[in-house]
Symmetry: D2
């Protein structure tokens, strides 16, 4: 059974650019907010994984398809799912929308790394939360 | 004959995060710097295209593969090429490095749009600079 | 009777830097979030003031005193008040805290401007909401 | 004899907002670029101070007065001086301009802190570079 979470945020003025819409890099910041929410929803604080276990979610790849522009003060919903996960990698899919209007879709591929940024295997305590056997 | 430009920038403290490396969304800001440089190198100011002709480069897709972390104060080089271009779309490829160390590779796909953000066809004056017949 | 609003937000990873705390410029982004909330609380959408009336809140001065570092994932509260307002200028005070810990205090001084960024006088419909006679 | 440095940077699209000018918080990012340049000019790399000596420049206060809007692609000059310095604090003044047009003036007040963010006294090797006896 796949976990799905929904995050909500409101577009900040700082996130717009002179085209009058949200600057394209900022969608990736929203994806970060969404995956931190996802971790919380399945049972752990991402912050604690870093602090207590020295495990970080390094980003190996990111991509985004922009469908309709997001604008200042709009309320954006982000539906987050895990597309792939094992002890070494984690892939999130994101669907961004504003009310019924699709805004963007994105994906980030992560590698679990330690404090020195070298790959590590995800410990049991987190693996079980992601449904890894 | 394909045009290639190289942009250089120094990593700002603001661009790092608590992992001690550059936050993943900021690579997209650097790609923007690189494509504005590219436009200047082939003969026009992107700013003028917006101001004088009301043509904007909306982003339709973006992606990035992260190879080695970029760190504060490093000097990053970005080699930019056009992977595809016609009167409606423009695709840039970017290779980011620090000295001889590959840092990341990225791609952005753009659509030419007018002030209302609807697609427009690229006028001759710009098309010729991109080698479009 | 002075209006006071409280905004809440959670610190994003993107907002931290390699010192492990929130980068100092990002507090100003939070103040923006807080003053947009303030406008909504007293009865108008800042967005509408821009769109419908062509009135913008240009920033003339900003300042911030940093008391204790804000960290990733902390919930920040921002208490916002108007320190001064008339038909030409608007000054906000902000008190930022995390639970009972003072985080920062800030102030932004604004000038009402039109689409060409020249000063304008605030129309009655907004002036009355700020308690200007 | 007071040291004065001049930094130059070009306004990024990412730094603008929907008002068509640079978002007010981004001036503080530019001040950071300027003070890192200043450190380099008087003889040390700020990066090395952090890495080798574990000394960080925490920001205690910041302020900015905005004079004329900065716009996309403009070349901004930042003249940086030290307004005050001793073994515990460091105050920078910044004058931002575009060609002969004053853009903004700013100030940041810093405290030297160690890895745990507690105040430390600036060691001789750096103190001498700032002209502290």
């Amino acid at each position: 059974m796949e976990k799905v979470t929904t995050s909500r945020l409101r577009v900040r003025y700082a996130e717009t650019d002179q085209m009058g819409v949200v600057y394209y890099a900022n969608y990736y910041v929203w994806m970060e907010v969404a995956r931190v929410d996802y971790c919380r929803a399945i049972g752990f604080e991402y912050k604690e994984m870093e602090l207590e276990d020295g495990i970080f979610l390094a980003v190996a790849e990111s991509k985004c398809r922009y469908k309709t522009p997001a604008r200042f003060d709009e309320e954006i919903s982000i539906v987050t799912t895990v597309a792939d996960v094992n002890r070494r990698i984690l892939v999130f899919d994101y669907a961004l929308s504003c009310a019924d209007r699709p805004v963007a879709s994105g994906q980030t591929r992560h590698v679990f790394v330690g404090r020195t940024l070298r790959p590590v295997r995800l410990p049991d305590k987190y693996a079980s939360l992601f449904g890894i056997e």
